[in-house]
């Protein structure tokens, strides 16, 4: 059972050239900020390291931060054997969001990332099958959960807002 600071210290020791940060000011949980193209390597380390053993990805969600002009992805991961958890956060540019996929580490990330793509437009590189999941496959009017999303007038001949 490790605390967030200890996990952060372990990460910093093993990835000294990374720009990692531990944010503890906001309620309720501390968050570790990671660069978008390093998330997969760090996830693999967190998964394999014997003191950490984060074997379960609980949640992967996107958040649209309009004011900071960023789109963030939060990863909640947990260890079922050692019973600790941590939150990771990755932020990318809002106009062209790209994050490395973690499906090679946790297979359950597959559909979570598809949903993040569907709702926010975040492109996950190395994802086995990135396509829309909740919206129809040919929805062209954008990404619904972005703050500046507008409903289209027509979809395949049907009037959208009624």
């Amino acid at each position: 059972m490790k605390k967030a600071e200890e996990i952060f210290q372990l990460l910093k020791d093993n990835f000294p050239d990374q720009n990692l940060e531990l944010k503890t000011d906001q309620p309720t949980e501390p968050v570790i900020l990671i660069a978008p193209d390093e998330i997969e390597k760090i996830s693999l380390f967190l998964y394999k390291n014997t003191e950490l053993l984060f074997d379960s990805l609980v949640l992967l969600s996107g958040v649209d931060e309009v004011k900071a002009n960023l789109i963030s992805v939060y990863y909640h991961i947990e260890s079922t054997s050692l019973k600790h958890k941590i939150v990771l956060k990755v932020s990318t540019d809002r106009n062209n969001p790209e994050v490395v996929s973690v499906t090679s580490v946790w297979k359950g990330a597959d559909w979570h990332e598809r949903e993040a793509y569907d709702m926010f437009g975040i492109k996950f590189t190395n994802h086995p099958d990135l396509r829309r999941i909740l919206m129809p496959y040919d929805w062209e009017a954008g990404y619904p959960l972005r703050k500046d999303y507008e409903n289209p007038e027509f979809y395949q001949g049907m009037k959208v807002p009624y």
Partner: protein, 386 residues
């Protein structure tokens, strides 16, 4: 046994040099056995399944976008409608997450009533799961036996909050009404009648030879695969892992109550097959009865609406709160920007995560087994699509 059949078909098609194609069969959105509007695309070679691709999104109602336009208390009725068979659990999850974010403590009476409602809801939801599972396999009678008991539970909910399926009962900071004066007595009567009924359903279905032949060794889910995919709830416990949010990340008053966590042991086949997942649900109903009895004994007096804040305006921050729903771990990730509306509400539905493993565990089985496996996973499309 199933793997041998795949080998045989491959050899025969190679040796005869006839070009055989994989047949695509669509278990379409309207189908008696897919529990909701789900489209399963099956790739078949004869009767053996080679791939399963689920297509979802038919029931998408934009819950998460909707939340951003409402205030925090207004979100509660919408959370009911995601997993409509376990509404109390959904509301409970939202209340747990919000109370963590706001840092408020609710009276003990509220906590105990919430636990009683959640456990009654667990029994009701598992009764539906068992009944419909039996109906999928072909045994039509246990379905009605299960629904008789479910009617009694829905009556208990009706005298408490007026609704049978979608309650709007567990609010942030408390409850909407106190329980009815007859509630405790009627719940005790129900538990007394339920235990022999459960035994009757067990005799009819659980140990029936044909049922065992249909479900044992079908859809085996190994523990490592389950954890890697993030499966939780009875599906994970059926594979042999003792993981329960009520025990491992306790919320409300579960730490004061004494109950056991049933796991699958591979009684009739491999650990982690459909029969194990089914039987874990049967045992969980028994455990829920124990929890309800203890909670009724320990129920304190108090005011259920005293801690409900007049205006919910949390600080800037984020929270992840989770509960053990009948289908698994239901989590709410709420990001607040300091105003009265949530900035982002993300729901982690247990069935969403569970449906991903269909492709992994259906390979090599037959078409009839796909229905068996899907029924044993107990999904509800309402929470997958939100």
């Amino acid at each position: 046994m199933s793997q041998d059949l795949t080998k045989n078909t491959k050899v025969s098609s190679q040796s005869s040099k006839i070009r055989t194609e994989e047949m695509i069969l669509n278990m379409g959105p309207q189908h008696p056995s897919t529990h909701g509007v789900l489209r399963l695309e099956l790739g078949l070679e004869g009767e053996i399944v080679t791939k399963v691709i689920p297509h979802i999104g038919y029931l998408h109602r934009c819950f998460e976008k909707h939340c951003e336009a409402m205030t925090y208390p207004q979100v509660v009725p919408y959370t009911d409608r995601m997993d409509y068979l376990a509404s109390m659990g959904n509301e409970f999850g939202y209340a747990v997450a919000m109370e963590k974010l706001l840092g408020i403590e609710v009276p003990q009476r509220v906590e105990y009533i919430r636990v009683i409602m959640a456990e009654l809801q667990r029994i009701a939801s598992h009764l539906v799961a068992l009944g419909t599972y039996g109906a999928d396999i072909g045994a039509f009678t246990p379905f009605l036996f299960c629904f008789i008991d479910r009617e009694k539970i829905l009556h208990l909910f009706e005298i408490t909050c007026g609704a049978r399926l979608l309650y709007n009962y567990i609010w942030v900071g408390g409850l909407s009404h106190d329980i009815h004066p007859d509630f405790v007595r009627k719940t005790r009567e129900f538990i007394k009648e339920f235990r022999p009924n459960l035994k009757e359903i067990n005799d009819l279905l659980t140990h029936n030879r044909i049922f065992i032949d249909r479900t044992a060794n079908v859809g085996v889910l190994p523990i490592e695969t389950a954890i890697n995919f993030g499966v939780s709830g009875p599906n994970l416990r059926g594979s042999g892992m003792k993981w329960d949010i009520r025990r491992d990340d306790p919320y409300s008053v579960y730490s004061k109550l004494d109950f056991d966590i049933p796991v699958g042991k591979g009684t009739y086949g491999t650990t982690g097959d459909s029969w194990d997942r089914y039987f874990v649900r049967v045992l969980e109903m028994e455990e829920s009865c124990k929890i309800i009895e203890q909670a009724l004994d320990q129920l304190p007096e108090g005011d259920v609406t005293s801690a409900i804040p007049k205006r919910i305006k949390p600080n800037v921050g984020h929270v992840y709160g989770r509960v053990e729903n009948p289908r698994g771990e239901l989590g709410y990730f709420i990001v607040s920007d300091g105003s009265t509306s949530p900035y982002r509400v993300k729901v982690r539905p247990p069935s969403f995560v569970t449906l991903q493993i269909m492709d992994e565990i259906c390979k090599g089985y037959m078409v009839a087994d796909v229905v068996t496996i899907l029924g044993s996973l107990d999904i509800v499309l309402g929470e997958i699509d939100r």
